[in-house]
């Protein structure tokens, strides 16, 4: 038994292919990204070593800091939207008729490719023929804005479809977690005279705390590295008004051919994602130590 299950050759054969793929296509590239960040490079010609210049430039690049700010704004709104999803899930999990059908309907946008979502919402936001401005004009708004072309609204106009896309996903997770709470606990609270609101906030939420933490990490890190809708709907424009870290990196590389500088941005993005994950987990862990 022991001999069979400790056969080194077999272990190597089973682990090596996957490990090789992940090392070559994930780990070596992130090391290379940090390294390319030390180079001046147009992506085609020779690389030229320039030390920390890209990273120093990055610190003074206000366009980059704007994109960091937009990424964090997106993360903030995604995290806040979790409160809404939690409320919906608590209602749904409270023996509502048709809950199963409703949560499946909520999920449908999540199944659509970001290209489809982007194209669809560009039509919804269309200044003269989109449904949004049509409704606004019916409501008496004389000159509704062109949402994606107006720097004041662009970022928010993109946040809405992001929320639309992921709502069903988070509701699904919360719903599953809430349904996992043993009936007896809720019944006991009811007998003790707890109101539905008390049951939700004092009993259900603390019980699914670990799931909530996972979703906060997902929402924040997912937002910090967010790219698809922004790239397709505005390309980061107008004038950088919706630029985020990932789109800034992409534009620097594949539009500006500053591959060295873009690598520095990509490396920074990696660090922010790792630090954000670490901090949220750390905060959650200290929260758990204090008795509630």
């Amino acid at each position: 038994m022991n001999q069979v299950m400790a056969n080194k050759k077999v272990i190597f054969l089973y682990v090596a292919p996957a490990l090789l793929l992940v090392l070559v296509l994930v780990y070596i590239p992130i090391v290379l990204t940090g390294y390319y960040g030390l180079m001046k490079w147009d992506g085609i010609g020779e690389m030229e070593f320039i030390g920390l210049k890209n990273y120093k430039d990055l610190i003074q690049d206000h366009l980059f800091w704007d994109s960091v700010y937009h990424s964090f704004l997106l993360a903030l709104f995604s995290a806040l939207s979790l409160i809404g999803y939690l409320m919906i899930s608590i209602i749904l999990a409270g023996n509502i008729k048709g809950a199963d059908l409703l949560r499946k309907i909520y999920l449908i946008p999540m199944l659509l490719a970001s290209v489809v979502i982007a194209q669809l919402w560009m039509k919804i936001y269309h200044p003269s023929n989109g449904i949004l401005n049509h409704i606004l004009m019916k409501l008496g708004v004389v000159d509704p804005p062109s949402w994606l072309a107006d720097p004041r609204f662009t970022l928010f106009a993109i946040i809405i479809p992001v929320i639309w896309q992921y709502a069903g996903f988070y509701i699904l997770i919360y719903y599953a977690a809430l349904k996992n709470i043993p009936e007896e606990i809720v019944e006991a609270a009811k007998i003790d005279g707890a109101t539905p609101f008390q049951i939700a906030t004092r009993i259900k939420l603390p019980l699914i705390k670990s799931v909530i933490i996972v979703t906060i990490v997902l929402a924040v890190v997912g937002s910090l590295k967010y790219f698809d809708l922004i790239y397709i709907m505005t390309g980061g424009g107008p004038n950088g008004a919706s630029e985020v870290m990932a789109s800034y990196m992409y534009n620097q590389a594949f539009k500006g051919f500053n591959f060295g500088y873009a690598s520095a941005v990509g490396f920074f993005l990696l660090l922010i994602c790792l630090v954000a994950t670490y901090l949220i987990r750390k905060l959650a862990a200290t929260g758990q130590d204090t008795p509630s």
Binding site: M1, V4, M5, A6, K8, V10, I11, Y14, A18, L19, L21, L25, V26, I28, P29, I30, L32, T33, Y36, G43, I91, I96, I105, Y106, L107, P109, M110, L111, L112, A113, S114, V115, V116, Q119, L120, K123, I124, N129, G130, I131, H134, W164, L172, I173, L218, A219, V221, L224, K225, F227, A246, M249, A253, F254, F259, G266, F267, L269, C273, L274
Partner: protein, 296 residues
């Protein structure tokens, strides 16, 4: 004095009950309409997409966006199907998705088997390496991948896409499999070892069939990610013949900036397979996404 108290409470309870009876249907109604409004918000944009895919520009620009098409213009669908390469994109999407899913699930199963069933010192560090992969943003790897694929002549080839999908989905797949493998009883495998079966026989003939429910779950979650993937194809593929549905329709739509009917029809064709699959497999998909909730 002694009897007064209970009477009072029961009075209070009665009135409380009455309030509850009145309030409950109202509260229930309000909550329910709230849920319905959310459902409408989630589904109406897609209904609207279907409506304008059946209109011509005259209708779109002159009538209310909420109106039904006077006469459904199915020719929009025929037109984009003939003019575009949608069939080819569709085939590519299926090819890449299926190849990557098979490769990912097989390799991830082998790793999970080795980690949970076999004895070796480095198993935990290796598992940790896969798990940290969950947190790495794709964009931080994009330039070196682009560079490496260019140098190895893998750029603009389906292989670069299939391998990238596999590498980036292995961590989440292993993570989902791990929970299932750990809960799976080992007696059958141990008995097989006693009977002198080889490890390959145990893995392929016993373990893989026993894990088929979780294989279905991971396959679905992988399929959704791969089918909708955009950045890799947009960056690595330049030939039209190798593009997937997502990137292909994005470029194809570009030529119809003002023809809403054509754009709508293209988008509808691309989402139809997903919607049909969802109606057939919704329970499995719900399960898959819940299990895969560790990745955004």
């Amino acid at each position: 004095m002694d009897t007064a108290k209970p009477v009072q409470t029961s009075h209070r309870e009665k009135s409380l009950l009455q309030i509850k009876r009145l309030a409950n249907p109202v509260a229930y109604g309000i909550l329910y309409s709230f849920l319905i409004v959310v459902a409408a918000f989630q589904i109406y944009p897609i209904v609207w997409l279907f409506l304008f895919s059946l209109k011509n520009n005259q209708e779109i620009f002159n009538t209310s966006p909420f109106s039904l098409p006077t006469q459904p213009k199915w020719e929009n669908y025929v037109k984009v199907w003939i003019e575009g390469n949608i069939g080819q994109y569709f085939f590519n999407s299926v090819l890449y998705t299926v190849s990557a899913v098979v490769l990912t699930v097989l390799l991830a199963s082998m790793v999970t088997f080795a980690i949970t069933r076999m004895r070796w010192k480095a198993s935990q560090p290796v598992l940790g390496l896969f798990m940290i992969g969950l947190m790495i943003p794709v964009h931080s790897t994009l330039i070196p991948l682009f560079d490496t694929f260019t140098k190895t002549n893998l750029i603009d080839s389906p292989l670069s896409i299939i391998l990238s999908y596999t590498a980036f989905n292995l961590p989440i797949t292993i993570m989902i499999l791990l929970g299932f493998y750990e809960a799976l009883p080992r007696e059958v495998e141990e008995a097989a070892v006693m009977d002198g079966a080889t490890i390959h026989h145990i893995f392929f003939r016993l373990t893989l069939p026993m894990t088929s429910p979780v294989i279905a779950t991971t396959a679905i979650i992988n399929m959704i990610y791969n089918w909708n993937e955009f950045v890799f194809v947009n960056t690595f593929i330049s030939s039209d013949t190798y593009k997937t549905l997502t990137v292909g329709i994005q470029n194809f739509i570009g030529q119809y900036t003002t023809d809403w009917g054509a754009i709508g029809a293209t988008l509808m064709i691309s989402i139809l397979p997903i919607l049909i699959a969802f109606f057939l497999l919704s329970n499995r998909i719900v399960e898959g996404i819940t299990a895969g909730s560790v990745k955004g």
